[in-house]
């Protein structure tokens, strides 16, 4: 604890507060040691590592298909997208081209994942700011997506549905029908979200102008995802380096200029609508074909280094695999978006009040297991 307090170095009138690892508003085990002068935040030092499981070290002793199951547990709200990232890297290394059916299904599931992650963000962000009803409404709607996942992939949150070469199994016959029903339902319900929170004066007063990040700062600190796009940094991997079926759909990249908490929230709201548009373009046209390519029983990547980035709900996830020809990778590195988004928390909240710190860290939408890996 002394080390932690020293890291904040309070001067004479400052006092140190610990928003400890167990906390209602830091979503996960994040410890923030905050030095305050009265009400104003002087210095925020995040302490992480409470859920460091050594995923990168573990990957060096398991086979490539087994890595998929570990990536589920990093950013568990974008589980499907994490799996897709590793599968794409392995397929790129082996030079395999998956069938169109697989690409379409992967894209549809990724967009459903993105919607449910943003629903949870809405639920917890409202709860952090005191509008406790938002939590129940967001989770009620999220349950519908989780039911679709459970039917097709076998798991609600931890899906592990992708495999190198394609999918683990074909989709359930009900998948298309249920997804279309969900989209019809959610298009009506999302207006409730706007009425409840976005248009509320109290909410706007608490989020507009708080925690501003300029575009240069966003690039300098490497902030991607909705956080970067709210500051005007166009960083959507689905647009710049398209993968799976993203080059066949038309959608907008949501960009705002102001970079404050309100626009970070607004980007995610608009992204949910865009995701629904993408799903609607794909859901009726899933082509027939094999749901997996023929792969060797033991996957060995040729020697070399392979990098693939995908757009998770929180930013750009980069998977970097260094292989020396064996069935276990030599080194796997996950460039996680939350890790990079956490770093500027100190700069963003210097000079703001304590209640704003909660709003800012809520709007960054951090998932701590993704930071710690």
């Amino acid at each position: 604890m002394e080390e932690a307090v020293k890291s904040v170095v309070p001067e004479n009138e400052e006092y140190v507060i610990n928003m400890g690892p167990q906390h209602p508003s830091t979503h996960g085990v994040l410890r923030l040691v905050v030095s305050l002068k009265g009400e104003i935040v002087q210095n925020v030092q995040p302490h992480i590592g409470y859920i460091h499981r050594g995923i990168e070290k573990m990957c060096e002793s398991i086979t490539y298909p087994q890595i998929i199951h570990l990536t589920d547990r990093m950013d568990y709200l974008s589980a499907h997208i994490n799996n897709e990232a590793v599968c794409l890297t392995v397929e790129k290394a082996l030079g395999i081209e998956v069938s169109d059916r697989v690409k379409y299904i992967r894209t549809i599931l990724s967009e459903l994942t993105r919607i449910q992650s943003h629903q949870l963000f809405w639920a917890t962000f409202g709860m952090d700011l005191g509008a406790l009803t938002c939590f129940f409404y967001g989770l009620r709607d999220r349950e519908k997506i989780l039911d679709i996942f459970e039917e097709t992939c076998g798991g609600r949150m931890i899906v592990s549905y992708n495999a190198p070469g394609g999918l683990m199994n074909d989709i359930h016959p009900n998948f298309q029908k249920r997804t279309k029903e969900f989209i019809k339902y959610f298009r009506k319900t999302i207006h409730e979200y706007d009425k409840l929170l976005t248009g509320n004066v109290i909410f706007q007063e608490r989020t507009k102008g708080i925690g501003r990040v300029t575009r240069e700062d966003a690039i300098g600190w490497g902030m991607t995802g909705p956080v970067g796009r709210a500051s005007g940094f166009s960083c959507d991997v689905r647009k710049h380096n398209p993968y799976s079926a993203y080059d066949r759909v038309t959608f907008n990249e949501i960009l705002y200029d102001e970079g404050d908490t309100f626009h970070r929230y607004k980007v995610r709201m608009d992204e949910m609508l865009e995701s629904m548009n993408i799903i609607e373009q794909l859901i009726d046209n899933i082509p027939e074909g094999p749901w997996t390519e023929k792969m060797k029983p033991v996957i060995k990547l040729p020697e070399g280094e392979y990098f693939q980035s995908v757009e998770t709900a929180r930013g750009e996830l980069g998977v970097f695999i260094v292989s020396d020809g064996n069935k276990n990778p030599f080194r796997v590195k996950f460039r996680s978006p939350n890790f990079v988004n956490l770093a500027p928390l100190n700069i963003m909240s210097k000079g703001s009040k304590i209640a704003d710190l909660v709003a800012i860290s809520g709007s960054l939408d951090l998932i701590i297991p993704d930071i710690d890996r």
């Binding site: 928003m19 209602p24 409202g126 005191g130 409840l196 608490r206 009040k353």
Partner: protein
């Protein structure tokens, strides 16, 4: 000895006469005090328990879930179960805390709200103290609760409790101004501060209709300021900042915490009943001058139920506010009061005075 539920004065007169017949006047008065005290205590406890249960059910209704539904039929014994649990909680003694003040603080808060309940008219004839400065007395008594809050924060020997108590105290004192001015606006309309006279004056129209524009404004301001004064709803930063500082009642556990908790709900009830009395007519049914049929139907419902209905309507409104809106930050809260509500209030008061002078009310 005709008892009627439409007019309790015959019932109270009967108790009074039978007591005086059997003992000396001094003893009779003392026994009457005891009866009133016990009755108010019982009322306090029952309404408090009911309000906690109602809050959980209303909150669940808005959050698309059921709320307590296992303990007793429909969950009505839930609060009693919570109360029994609280009684068994270990009372953690605080080192270096001022023991007298620490133990005194919850009692001050409870006593302040008790005394306020004593002055509220529940039905015709069911009015414990009918002071001729009724409103003034109510405002003064509810200000006493602040002392309990500040004492609790100070005596806890915990810098976070102190900060929370200071914030609560600042908030309560600021919003008392708005509450007071809103009530004064209605006093201008009524011409008297005595509560029973105010209710009588609303026989042919509740004040919120009689005073139209300024009365509605005063009602809205009163609801907002009343919610803020009881640290509820969108203004509960001081205690819901269990994000950071856990408010002034961190160090209290068990029955003392139950006192603070109960006092908060009862304060909400008092604010709601004052609103019902002054703006909505108290126990007076809804009459329209000239429509005798309607008036007869309205009179059929006993005044006590009118009062309960109106008060719980306002309570529901306050709970609705709490579960819908996010919280205000402390500086936004104080801004709201000093920069917006107070000037609006003063302007409204002048408007009402102008209206009364010109006779433009109904």
């Amino acid at each position: 000895m005709e008892f009627s539920i439409y007019d309790f004065s015959s019932f109270t007169a009967w108790i009074d006469s039978s007591l005086r017949a059997s003992m000396s006047p001094g003893w009779a008065t003392a026994v009457e005090w005891i009866i009133i005290g016990v009755a108010i205590l019982l009322f306090y406890a029952v309404v408090g328990l009911f309000l906690v249960y109602a809050e959980r059910k209303v909150c669940a209704l808005m959050q698309n879930r059921l709320g307590p539904n296992r303990v007793g039929p429909g969950g009505i014994f839930q609060t009693i179960a919570d109360l029994i649990k609280l009684l068994f909680v270990e009372l953690v003694p605080i080192k270096n805390a001022d023991k007298i003040l620490f133990n005194l603080a919850p009692y001050i808060v409870i006593i302040a709200s008790f005394m306020a309940i004593g002055a509220i008219p529940f039905a015709k004839g069911l009015h414990a103290i009918d002071l001729d400065i009724g409103i003034f007395y109510l405002m003064a008594i509810s200000s006493m609760g602040v002392i309990g809050v500040l004492l609790a924060g100070w005596a806890s020997n915990n810098k976070y409790s102190l900060i929370g108590a200071m914030r609560s105290g600042a908030q309560i004192v600021s919003y008392e101004l708005s509450v007071g001015l809103a009530l004064v606006t209605m006093v201008v309309l009524a011409g008297t501060m005595q509560l029973s006279e105010m209710i009588e004056a609303q026989r042919w129209g509740w004040f919120i209709f009689k005073g139209h524009v300024p009365a509605v404004t005063a009602f809205v301001i009163y609801i907002i300021a009343g919610t803020a004064e009881t640290n509820r709803g969108p203004f509960d930063l001081a205690e819901a900042e269990s994000e950071l500082t856990a408010g002034f009642h961190t160090e209290y556990s068990g029955i003392k915490f139950a006192f603070f908790f109960l006092a908060e709900y009862m304060n909400m009830f008092i604010i709601a009943s004052i609103a019902a009395t002054i703006f909505l007519g108290g126990w007076m049914p809804f009459h329209i001058y000239g429509l005798d049929g309607l008036n007869k139907v309205m009179d059929f419902i006993p005044p006590f139920f009118w009062y309960i209905g109106k008060t719980f309507g306002v309570v529901f409104l306050m709970m609705w506010l709490k579960w819908t809106f996010p919280r205000l930050r402390i500086d936004q809260l104080l801004n709201l009061e000093w920069k917006y509500l107070l000037p609006l209030n003063i302007f409204n008061l002048l408007l009402m005075a102008f209206l009364v002078l010109k006779g433009w009310h109904w």
